[in-house]
Amino acid sequence: MELTRRNALAMGAGAFAATLLPLEAFATPEATQEAIAAFTGGADIGEGGITLTAPEIAENGNTVPISVDAPGAVEIVVMAEKNPDPAVVTFKFGPMSGAQAASTRIRLAGTQDIIAVAKMADGSFVKTSSTVKVTIGGCGG
C-alpha cells in the first residue's frame, strides 16, 4: 500500500494512469487489430482449436507466465493490446515440432487483454483471448 504516484501509475491501475503518460506510449486496440490483420492478411479468424493459459491476476506484471497450445498450427502470435508495442512474441513450428505449444513470460504495462492468433497448416486462422489484471493488491485477507 505504500506507493509513490509513479509506482501506482506504473502499475497501470485505473484511468488516471493513461491521462498522465504520453498517449503514444500505449498501443491502442486498433493498432493491435491492425497487427493481427497484417498477420492474417485480412482473412477471417475462427474460434476454437487454440488455448491460451494466463493468470487471471498477475502476481508480478513484469513477468507473467503464459502458454499457448494450438494443435496443427504452423505459427502463433501473441499480442498484448495495451503494451507500448502490442506484438509480444511469435512462435513458429516446423514439421518436426512434437507439439504446437509454447510457454514464456511476458511483461504487461497494465490490466489488458492478451490475444493469441494461430495460423493453421491449411492457412486458416483461429484466435483466443484472456484478460490479465495487473493490480496493486495488498488488502486481501
Binding site: 500500500m1 505504500e2 506507493l3 509513490t4 504516484r5 501506482a8 501509475l9 491501475a13 485505473g14 484511468a15 488516471f16 494512469a17 493459459t53 493468470p55 487471471e56 491476476i57 502476481e59 508480478n60 507466465p65 510457454s103 490490466t111 484478460t131 489484471k133 493490480t135 496493486i136 493488491g137 495488498g138 488488502c139 486481501g140 485477507g141
Partner: protein, 565 residues
Amino acid sequence: MISRRDFLQATVAASAIYGVSGVGNWARLAAQQALTQDQLLNFDTFGNVTLIHVTDIHGQLKPTYFREPEINLGVGQVKGKPPHVTGEDFLKMFDLKPGTPEAYALTYVDFVSLAKTYGRMGGLDRVATVINSIRADRPDALLLDGGDTWHGSYTCLKTDAQDMVNVMNKLKPDAMTFHWEFTLGSDRVREIVEGLPFAAMGQNIFDNEWNEPSEDFVDYEIFERGGVKIAVIGQAFPYMPIANPGWMFPEYSFGIHDERMQEMVDEVRGAGADLVVCLSHNGFDVDRKMASKVTGIDIILTGHTHDALPEPVMVGDTMLIASGSNGKFVTRLDLDVRDGRMMGFRHKLIPVFSDVIEADKDVAAAIDAERAPYEAEMAEVLGHTDSLIYRRGNFNGTWDDLICNALIEEREADIALSPGFRWGPSLIPGDPITREDLYNATSMTYPNAYRSEMTGETIKVILEDVADNLFNPDPYYQQGGDMVRVGGMGYHIDVSKPQGSRLSNMTLLKTGEAIDPAKKYVVSGWASVREGTEGPPIFEVVENYIKRVGTVHVDPNKSVKVSGA
C-alpha cells in the same frame, strides 16, 4: 441456491443448523437451559462416510465474540445469492427466528444483546468435543482444515504458530490447505509442513522458478473410509503474492489453475475415487465459478471469505459447504456413497456455543500450556470500549475506525488506510480491551505502520484498485478481502461501475473540502506488502492510542455512501 423447500425435496435427507424453538427469554440462564450440548451435537448418523470441516480459525484457541457482516454485497451473477445475504434477509431465507441462538450465530441482528445472552463462541477445546462426538458415531470420519489456521493471535505471533500447530495436531486432522500460513515465511512453512502428521495440500501451489507444481505440497490424497475411496484435492488461496507480501515466500506461485484442477479430478477418478472432495481456500464466489467450470467434484469445502451457511449451495452436481470462521462452527457432512456416486447426504453446521459445549480436558490443558508463558502480557487491560467493536463488513467496521483514528492521531496523518481483512473477533460495549484483544485484530508478520505523502490522484488509484478486487463482476478477478478502510476521508462508491469510475465525492473530513488530485496528503496505513516498509508496528500504535484515550468510543461510520448494489 435452491429454496429450502426444493432443497428438502431434492435431497435424500437434510438437516440444517439445529433449531431451538421457544427461546424467547433473554437471560443467559434460560438460554443455557434451552440449549444443551446433546441438542447441538444431535445427529442421526447417515450413510457410510463422514466429513468434518473447519476453516479460517485465525489462531483463535479461546472462545470469542464474532459479529457476522451487515453488508456483504454480491455483484454480477451472485447479487442477492448466499453468502451475499445478511441480517433479516438471511433469517428469512433460512427460516430462522430473530433472537434465537442460530440468529445470533449467523447474523449481526441484535448482536450486542444476544451476545450477552448466548455468550462467546468457538474455542478449540470445544471444537475438540464436537469432533470427538462425531468420531464416537463414526470413528473414521475425515477432519479437513481449510487453512488460515496458523495466524491471528498474540501467541501465534510470538511462537511462529507453534501454538496452533501443537493444538491442531491434537485434533488429528487428515488434510489442510493454506493462505496466511505463508506469511510466516517460506522457510518456517516448510519446517512445519515437513513435520506435519497429515497431508499439506494445494494443487495450485507452484514452484515460481520453473512454473511447475511445487514438490513441497501434495496435490491430493486418497483415503479409504467405510469401503469408499475418498479423494481430497487441495486448493490454496490463489492470490497469495498479491494480497500478502510475495517477498516472504518468493519460491512459490499460486493462481486458480482450474484446468489443472480438472486434470486432478480426472486423475483421481481414474485411480478409482468414489467421492471427490475439494478442500479449498478460494473464497465462496471463486469456488462457485470453479464448480461450474470443473466437472466431477462432488463437494467443495469452501474457505477464505468467512461465510457461514446453514445449508449447502448446489452448483450443478457439486455441493458447496461454508463453515464460517474463528472456530464458531464445525460442519458435519454425512454421505451415502455407493457405486462411485454420492446418493444422499445429511448436513449440519454445528454452532460452537462455548457456554453450552463442554471443553475437552486434554485439549484445554494443551491450550493453557501454550498460553501460560504469555498470559500476563496478554491479559493487560489497555483501556475499555463503550462501543461495539467489530471488523466484518464490506466498507467499514469499528475495529478499523478505531485503528484509523489511532493512525491519524499517533502518526499525525490527514488520511489513514486500514486493510479490509475479514479476521478479528468483536468486543461488546463495556468490555475491557486487553493486549490479546488488540493482537486478535492486528497481529501479523508485516505490521509496520508507514507514513508517507500521496497525491489525491494516487489515493483514488489505490481505492479504485482495491474496489475492483472486491466488486469485479467476474469472481476470478476478485481477491476476497473487504474494501480498504479509510479514516479522515469520505467517498461515494457505485459498486456496479467498472474499475476507475466507482469512486466519487472524495472529501477530506477535517476540512470538508474535496480531495484535490494534484495535492499531497499525509497518509498512514499498515500491512503494506512492500519489503522494507518503515514505521512502528500497528499494535504498538493502537496500544499507545487506547492507553491515552482510556475509554474508546467509535461512532457509526457514515462517511462512505454506497450505491449500485
